[in-house]
């Protein structure tokens, strides 16, 4: 049952990446960065699964990969939010996120434990960047077909995933203590959220050509 669950999760991380690769030629720059992010997440899941089976611990892999994931997300927002692209704010945020992750690992939370501070920072930053993208969408001059925008959907899924997991990631250690033997339930909840998010990304990339990467008509 445990292995079936792992295969299920791995398949669902491979699916959006595979579809995005099929659409690669038609993808705009931020969507390509997002595709790289999905590929990276799939690779991390594979390595983390191997590490869990071999060494009984994969937290270090998740923690380190979290910095790079955050950097890729910041890069994605850098190219999808116009005012970010102008001043390269996303690139600075990406570098800052990696530095923050290293500092957190060195001085606050060791790599062998769940980095709840960093996970909280990650979720809050994604929510803030999502708010910025939607603000820009709202203030944009001219006619904007929201539902036809690829980035509207990608960011919506990202924002929903992070808002659904924010409480659980922020209070992970606290909840794990309270749940003691049933901590796997928390992991299952996060897995379900992850699977749903990947399903959403898959749908966005399936319908990519029908959507419009810009906010045009």
């Amino acid at each position: 049952m445990y292995y079936a669950g792992i295969v299920f999760v791995l398949l669902f991380s491979l699916l959006p990446f595979g579809i995005s690769l099929l659409r690669w030629k038609t993808l705009d720059l931020p969507s390509r960065i997002f595709s790289v992010l999905l590929g990276f997440v799939f690779a991390v899941e594979c390595v983390a699964t191997f590490s869990a089976i071999r060494y009984q611990n994969n937290l270090a892999i998740y923690n380190v990969s979290g910095w790079l994931q955050m950097a890729l997300i910041c890069l994605y927002f850098n190219f999808s939010i116009y005012c970010f692209r102008k001043i390269h704010l996303g690139i600075y945020l990406a570098v800052a996120s990696i530095i923050l992750g290293i500092v957190n690992a060195l001085y606050f939370e060791p790599l062998g434990k769940t980095n709840t501070f960093y996970l909280t920072y990650q979720a809050v930053l994604v929510l803030l960047l999502g708010i910025l993208l939607y603000t820009e969408l709202l203030l944009k001059e001219g006619y904007v077909n929201t539902y036809r925008s690829v980035h509207f959907w990608l960011v919506l899924i990202l924002v929903l995933f992070n808002s659904l997991t924010l409480v659980n990631f922020s209070l992970y250690d606290f909840l794990a203590d309270l749940l003691s033997g049933s901590v796997y339930l928390l992991a299952v909840y996060i897995w379900i959220c992850g699977v749903l998010a990947n399903l959403g990304f898959t749908l966005v990339f399936i319908f990519y050509n029908r959507l419009n990467p810009t906010y045009g008509k």
């Binding site: 929510l127 708010i131 939607y134 603000t135 969408l137 709202l138 001059e141 001219g142 006619y143 904007v144 077909n145 929201t146 919506l156 924002v159 929903l160 808002s163 659904l164 997991t165 924010l166 409480v167 659980n168 209070l171 909840l175 309270l178 749940l179 003691s180 033997g181 049933s182 339930l185 928390l186 909840y189």
Partner: protein, 265 residues
């Protein structure tokens, strides 16, 4: 059981937070939709204005060619002749005739200027401009025109008022050009919520489907203008039965004024 309760609480909190986020995104999407409607309306008005520009150009060209150009040529010839003539009486007559011609040129220029100048129309308002146009048509003595204005109020936005005037102008222009009518009845019904314009003639009428198939710009212009005001434009006509044009809109944002009179009736 206790651990399930804790998990349920954590998940419940997450779902509550997500619902809040969803609500915020929903508000953004709804606001964007309203903005889109505004931009669409503006685009339609812009398109109508551009069409108007084109139409104005051809109208100026036509007026200059048909009236002002010929009259100026005639005026020039008359003055040239007056310079060559030695007989004082004949010269006086020619100069008098030159004076009359220049008055006509001034009259046509004034007419063109007033009917094309949107600022003039915006400044004086829809009712005044329609009344002024009717006066010009009546002066030609070839057609009977009646105007009936009921209700009170004035459109708040002069740009929208101009669009209504252009619809009326196009309709009357079409009657004068194609209908061979002897009588035109124009009715304006104004209330704080609704504005209705009815233009009826007793001319030869036409088959609407055929006219639309010909894609004449006049009808198309009227319809696109009516659309830009989210109004309803009905054209009721048949061969030999005259024509009735009915335009109705609730988008003029009529502001209350004292009761309108229709002195031209």
């Amino acid at each position: 059981m206790e651990s399930k309760g804790i998990l349920a609480l954590a998940v419940g909190l997450s779902i509550l937070f997500t619902a809040f986020v969803m609500m915020a995104i929903g508000i953004v999407v709804a606001a964007r939709k309203r903005l889109n409607n505004y931009y669409l309306e503006r685009e339609q008005l812009l398109a109508a204005n551009l069409e108007e520009g084109e139409r104005t150009m051809s109208q100026i060209a036509k007026e200059v060619h048909d009236n002002i150009g010929q009259l100026t040529y005639l005026l020039n010839m008359t003055i040239q002749r007056a310079r060559k003539v030695t007989n004082e009486v004949e010269r006086e007559q020619l100069l008098f005739s030159a004076g009359q011609l220049s008055e006509k040129v001034l009259f046509y220029t004034h007419n063109i200027s007033n009917s094309l100048n949107s600022e003039y129309i915006k400044r004086h308002g829809l009712y005044f401009k329609i009344q002024e146009d009717i006066e010009h048509i009546r002066n030609s003595g070839e057609i009977e025109v009646n105007l009936d204005i009921t209700g009170s109020g004035k459109p708040a936005d002069p740009n929208k008022e101009l669009v209504v005037y252009r619809i009326a102008q196009e309709a009357v222009h079409n009657i004068l050009k194609h209908a061979s009518a002897k009588r035109i009845d124009i009715s304006l019904h104004v209330s704080l919520v609704e504005f209705t314009l009815i233009i009826r003639d007793n001319g030869k009428g036409f088959e609407l489907n055929e006219a639309l198939a010909l894609e004449r710009n006049g009808l198309k212009n009227m319809m696109s203008r009516a659309n830009s005001l989210k109004g309803e434009l009905q054209i009721i006509t048949h061969m030999g039965e005259g024509c009735e044009i009915l335009f109705n809109t609730r988008e003029l944002n009529i502001q209350p004024t004292k009761k309108l009179k229709s002195p031209m009736t």
